[in-house]
Assembly symmetry: C2
Homo-oligomer: 279 residues x 2
């Protein structure tokens, strides 16, 4: 299978590695608007060659779209309109916007909307890693709008990468993603800003930073080029979660202000129920 990966960053680069590692790509061409990313992807062996978009698309059987979600939503119709027989799937963290956009193409049925649930706080081709997607979930959205062969090809690739498949509609995905991923990033960004605000007064606190701090704040290193468009596209759902989160923080605040140990214990005991979800 001849593959083109459009966008050679964290996800596109790791996808390229995974497809090669599993012998799913007889050839793998990379497309990236950034010449530095092209060079790095070649040097790191993520791709066999780089090419312009149209050339890469025309010569491929499978196209993986791995650019920021705002760009993906802009590119999807021109890309789909160019297809003759190919399958195209995206890997973006929001699904409603790209699905709505794709509906405007007569080739909508060649597109499979997916979201592999994996990422790190790093970006660019140098952040690509082997084995990224193993044992993770991938969400496939609005599958009824895709051709059976396109869906079958995409599903079998993800299964070969060791992922388990979840099917849902794009609107439901975006609600869940807000809770399970997007709010974690906003919380981390805000926590970093909270601490950096204080750090103006005293640098010493960072010498004390331990594992708990690092784990809650590491996502604050994430790239704005990727995350701003996600936040904007999923604004309504994220605002809904963010309001709930602020309200939950206010409960902790109130329990402390009133020295209400019973209420504080209730809040912590309730939070401990997360143990049955993350081991």
């Amino acid at each position: 299978m001849k593959v083109a990966v459009i966008g050679l960053g964290l996800i596109g680069g790791s996808m390229a590695l995974a497809l090669k590692d599993k012998n799913l790509a007889s050839s793998l061409v990379g497309v990236d608007a950034n010449p530095e990313h092209q060079q790095k992807a070649l040097a790191l062996g993520l791709v066999d060659a780089v090419a312009g978009m149209e050339e890469a698309v025309d010569a491929s059987d499978l196209i993986v779209l791995a650019v920021p979600v705002n760009i993906a939503s802009q590119m999807i119709v021109p890309l789909l309109n160019r297809l003759t027989h190919q399958v195209l799937f995206d890997v973006g963290s929001t699904k409603q916007s790209i699905c709505t956009a794709a509906d405007a193409s007569p080739n909508r049925n060649r597109f499979v909307a997916t979201h592999p649930m994996w990422g790190t706080e790093y970006s660019g081709p140098t952040s690509a890693v082997h084995g990224a997607f193993e044992n993770k979930a991938v969400v496939i959205c609005n599958s009824e709008a895709s051709d059976a062969d396109a869906l079958e090809k995409t599903s079998s690739i993800y299964q070969a990468l060791g992922m388990h498949l979840l099917y849902m509609d794009a609107a439901a995905h975006d609600i869940h993603a807000a809770y399970i991923s997007h709010i974690s990033h906003i919380s981390s960004f805000a926590l970093a800003n909270t601490v950096l605000e204080k750090e103006r007064e005293d640098n010493a606190i960072f010498e004390m930073a331990s594992g708990g701090f690092e784990s809650t704040v590491r996502l604050a290193k994430s790239n704005p080029e990727m995350w701003m468009p996600i936040f904007m596209q999923n604004k309504e759902n994220i605002l809904d979660v963010l309001n709930e989160h602020i309200s939950q923080l206010r409960k902790f605040k109130s329990s402390l202000e009133k020295e209400d140990e019973g209420f504080l214990l209730e809040l912590i005991n309730n939070a401990n129920r997360i143990r049955r979800i993350i081991k």
Copy 2:
């Protein structure tokens, strides 16, 4: 050196292992009010023997106090009053309360107030691990109130465990700990409650949970017996940080509500500065 460890949980248990691994304890006696913890600590080889408090203290050269901070503050004076020649250090996450309490004992000078900056979300003797403290920081507070030999013994132990020493007064420690540790726990607890609140509507979201979610929420598994007293003792500093954190979250909320991409980018770029602190 004959050592007594009072409190055989995550920190006390890991400290017992570290002291044995580094050959710093010729004998190691454990004290714990919970008979089940005593049995487990013996079975796991954390301690050579268990004993009652007074017996253990009288027979030791060094005493490590590793109980929840509210209990530590209650126990410190009776413990100190019993000492003849021993050194006693605590390992609690707040330092102001125990230092103030200790000042009431004529043996205050035998006490060294410390906070090794390490922990996990697990608790009890079964959560103790080898090598816990290596390459971490330990804060030593109000060192001028400790005898030179007590300070020297405590410092050399922590150095032997591979820790680097920071000195500050207890009040400064508690401010920094609020920023670097306590707020991360409150944020995680509140994030867990946010998601669990939503989960009532739909269980499917947890199948999607990925690394980012786990890393920001794992601290929500932490034990209320340890954390409630920390939050209560450090209430003023934590409220200060919590107010700042809610205010930072409100900025994200405002940028989304107004679709102000410039402001959102500024917030994320600012948060990205955390890269120079956590690699």
